[in-house]
Symmetry: C2
Subunit: 82 residues, 2 copies
């Protein structure tokens, strides 16, 4: 039951980046986005991923694995569409 | 040692929102930010907070408590500076 809550929490926080990714992709405008935010976020996500490995916490692992992909894609869009 | 990694990960992911908050505050431009992203993120953060309570995970608790405040402030800036 608790692990289910963690999985749902992970799915929601991770998928929250999808609307930003779609918006940036469609509008090709990323001026208002903070590059330092997403770079810092990526670093933190990597550490959470390690934490998930060391604590055997599957929701933390999965959420941060997917979040890294989405956040990095936003970084690419940010650099591409200045 | 593992809890220290979690605390560092929490501090980094949580503080990643600060550059976005400062940027949005200073420029007063938030057009490129996705409101659905931050609304979804807030919902997910609340669930992670509950998960942190149920699993007695202090890093998860602290990180998501502060992240909620920062993310909600960005939502307010997004609504205010359309």
């Amino acid at each position: 039951m608790i692990i289910l809550l963690g999985i749902v929490a992970g799915i929601i926080t991770t998928s929250s980046f999808i609307p930003q990714l779609v918006k940036s992709w469609r509008t090709r405008h990323t001026k208002d986005l903070s590059l330092p935010m997403y770079l810092t976020l990526d670093l933190g996500i990597i550490l959470w991923f390690l934490y998930g490995i060391l604590t055997n916490d599957l929701p933390v692992l999965l959420a941060n694995g997917v979040a890294f992909i989405l956040s990095t894609t936003i970084i690419i869009l940010k650099i591409r569409y200045k």
